[in-house]
Every structure is written in C-alpha cells, then in structure tokens.
Symmetry: D2
Subunit: 137 residues, 4 copies
C-alpha cells in the first residue's frame, strides 16, 4: 500500500537516496510517526490508570521516545534532498530509545493493553531504524 | 481499518470523550500526523526545486502547518483523559493553518506533484479539525 | 539585554514586521521558549511527587502548554519573513493554554515550588501573546 | 545568573542527577533551547536571502539541528527524575548535528550575519552536550 509518505517521497525532485534505502526510509518515517503517537497516547493512558504511581517511569520513557521519533521523522524527510549522514546519529538515538521503551512497556503488557500495543509500535520502529541504518552505511 | 491510533484510544482507561467525538478524535489525530509529515516533505521538496526562490512562502507555510499539526496531534491524545476544551483553541489554529497551506499548495499543484498531494493532506486535516470541533461543542 | 533571539531577528533580512511589533515578537518568542521548558520540567517534577495521583491533570496541561508554546515559538520566527497573520491563530491558542496552565499551577503553588515558578512563566507567556496579538492587529 | 531552567531544576523533588552533572544539565538544556530557536530563525533568514538557492543545504541542516535540540531539551528535563542514560544517545546525536550545523554556518559567516550568530549558538550547544556527556559517564 502506498502511504502518503511514500507518495510524497516519490514526487520529491531530489534523488540522493534511492532504491532500497529510499523504501526503508519511507517505512522508517512512517514507523516513527506511529511510534510517536502511540507513545504519546500510552503516556496519557498510564496517567489515567489507578496505579499511576507505579507507571511514572513508563510515562517518562514514553515521552522521551515520542520526542526522539518526532525529531527523527522530520530529519528523515530532509535526508532525501540533503545529506543522509546527518540522519544517522538521530537514527541511532531513536533505535536506543525505542528499544528501551519497548522493553519497559513489554514488562507491563499483561496488565495494560495500551502498553502491549505501545511495545509493538516501539519494536517495529526500532527494527525500521536498524534496517535504514544498514541501508545508509 | 483500525489504525494504531484508534487501537490505542480503544484501550485508554478514560472515557471523557466517547461515541462520535471519540471516532472523530482518532481520525483528526491521524490526519494531523499525515499532514505534519506531508508538509515537512513538501517543504524539503520545494527546497530541491529549481525555482526555490518562488517557493519560499510555501516552505514557510509548510513548516508552520507541520508545527501546528504536530502540537495538535499530541494535545488530542491527552484530550481523551483530560479536558477536551483545551484542545479546541489548538484545533481552531490547526484548521486555519491547514486551510492557508492547502490554498497555497493548491496554487502550485499544476507544476509540482508534491504540492498537489500536500494540498490534499492539508484539506483532509482541515475538515477533520472542523468535524471534531463540531463534535466537541 | 539583547538575547540571541532579538539578535537574530535584528539580522534577519526581511522587514515585514517592524518597530513595536518586532520587539514584542522577540519577547513573545523568548517567553514561549521559557514556558515550554518550564512546563516540561513541571510535568516531570509532578511525576516525581508523592501525590502524583492528584497531579495528573497538571501533568497533562503542562504537556499541552509545552506543545503549544513550542509550535508558537517556531511559527513566530517565520512570521518575520512571512505572513504574520498565520501566526495569530496559534498565538490565540497559546494564550488560552498558558492561561489555563497558569490557573492550574497557581492552584498548587502553595504546596509545590515548581508549580509556583511554572505559573509565573505561563502568566508571562500569556501576557506576551496578548501584547503581540495587539501589535499585529 | 539563575535562569528559570536552573530554578525549576532546583525545585524538582528527584535527585538522581546531582552536583556537577545537574549544573551541566541546566546549561545544556538552555543551550539546546537557544540553539533550536537560533537555527529556526537562521533557516527563515536564509529563505529571505537573495541567494536562497545557494543556501538550501543550510536551511535543511538548520531545521535538522533545531529538531534535535528540541527533543534533547525535553528529554534532559526528564533525565532529572528518570534514567539519565536514555538521554545519552540523544545528546550524542545533538552533538553531531550541532557540530555539522556550526561548520555549515561558519562557512557563510562572512556573508550572513545570521549565520555567524547561529554558528556560535551551535558551537556553544555542541560543547554543552560534550560537557554533559562527560559528567554522565
């Protein structure tokens, strides 16, 4: 399925990133957006739980991961026309934060359905960052 | 199709926003994300065009619209558990910026395929903001 | 004192916004940055309080206000070279969110020193948005 | 001079980060905010220059650096109460982007006064990230 992200990338006049890397970039950018939104919602859902006191570190990590994904998604869009190397440092940071947040949420996945979905979104994004990093080497 | 946004909203323990408003909120949040990403990419594609000099106001408005959509998407997720009224001021601002950016990009749609897609994403988001505002009244 | 914001504005080649409005724009942009950071920190400090359960709405509003301030600060910088009218919708939203967050934090100011400082930063930013809106009329 | 950032950090109930690291964290967070705003303005000033065509890579890097600084500033505030290790990946990315943007802007500093100031803000932020990384080791 062509998302609007890949549709836009296909109409971008620059061709610095092409082929496999361009496909992975589109997937990674979309994964970052989904992860950013899922983490933002998971933070708010944690705040609404009876046991919020036990979830404050999850709220923090959710917000951190959302911020990293947000920055990475935007920087990736500018890697098409610009210098893809500058995106790599952020991709590594995004990979780290998604991995940490996936682990944290997976630890609560039995009790909180929102943490289960959030862990999946973080894991997807972590892998998408890795796949793109490999393609940009 | 259930997106991860609506899936997360369905697992959020709070029920302050329900029924029609809850569905529209999910659609609006997803529209904001798509519009934010499309505008970010359109700005970069404009920078890569031969005629960048004639497109600087489009770049600016794209970046403004992306920032408004980004803030609105996050605030909407917290409107589920919190006070939906605080989201309304941002929804109105997002509506205004999406309308302005849709008009601007539509004016270049014949020449630039990325502006055509961006105009559609902005128009979708503008309408989604309006639909949600009507439901939150 | 010349901050880096006013210093940058003074070196911006465009002169669409001038005189009193330009000064107020610099003050408002700096107020947005301070408020964004103060609200982000107040949210985290609330999460660290023993009584986090009683502060979840404050955390939410802090995060909402931070997102609005962040978007407004960036849009203001582009209002110097672009169309200042598009900044007005966001300025109104930022005014509303700063007012709501100032009220919320002021209600906890006796108990939490971070809420006292945050209420001041929100009030400052609320007034700076109003002053700039008046100058852009 | 006590900024509102250090003032807020001083009133944060958590003490996971203390002493020298806490001071450097406050300086780094403020440097990120200044750099984010300076880069956002430099991008807009470049768009307003007669020679915008020769400055598109500077616009891109300015926007990338602003996004990295924005994420880092927020994550740093949550490192006070949370796990400072998660901030390190973003600090390294922020260091890299500030270094790249400082180099780019320094190359235009003779011609564009806004690039001169922006290069200084990026260099300051690059060093502040390094100082904090050293303290968090």
């Amino acid at each position: 399925m062509e998302t609007r992200t890949s549709s836009m990338i296909g109409r971008h006049p620059a061709v610095a990133v092409s082929g496999e890397a361009r496909e992975r970039l589109a997937i990674c950018a979309d994964s970052c957006l989904v992860c950013m939104q899922t983490c933002t919602t998971c933070a708010d859902a944690c705040l609404a739980e009876e046991n919020v006191k036990g979830l404050v570190d999850c709220v923090r990590l959710n917000l951190d991961c959302a911020d990293a994904c947000r920055a990475t998604a935007s920087v990736l869009m500018r890697a098409i026309g610009g210098d893809a190397r500058v995106a790599r440092a952020l991709l590594r940071a995004c990979f780290d934060l998604c991995a940490a947040c996936a682990d944290m949420c997976a630890g609560h996945a039995d009790e909180y359905a929102h943490c289960l979905i959030c862990a999946e979104a973080c894991r997807d994004c972590q892998h998408a960052c890795k796949d793109l990093l490999d393609a940009l080497l």
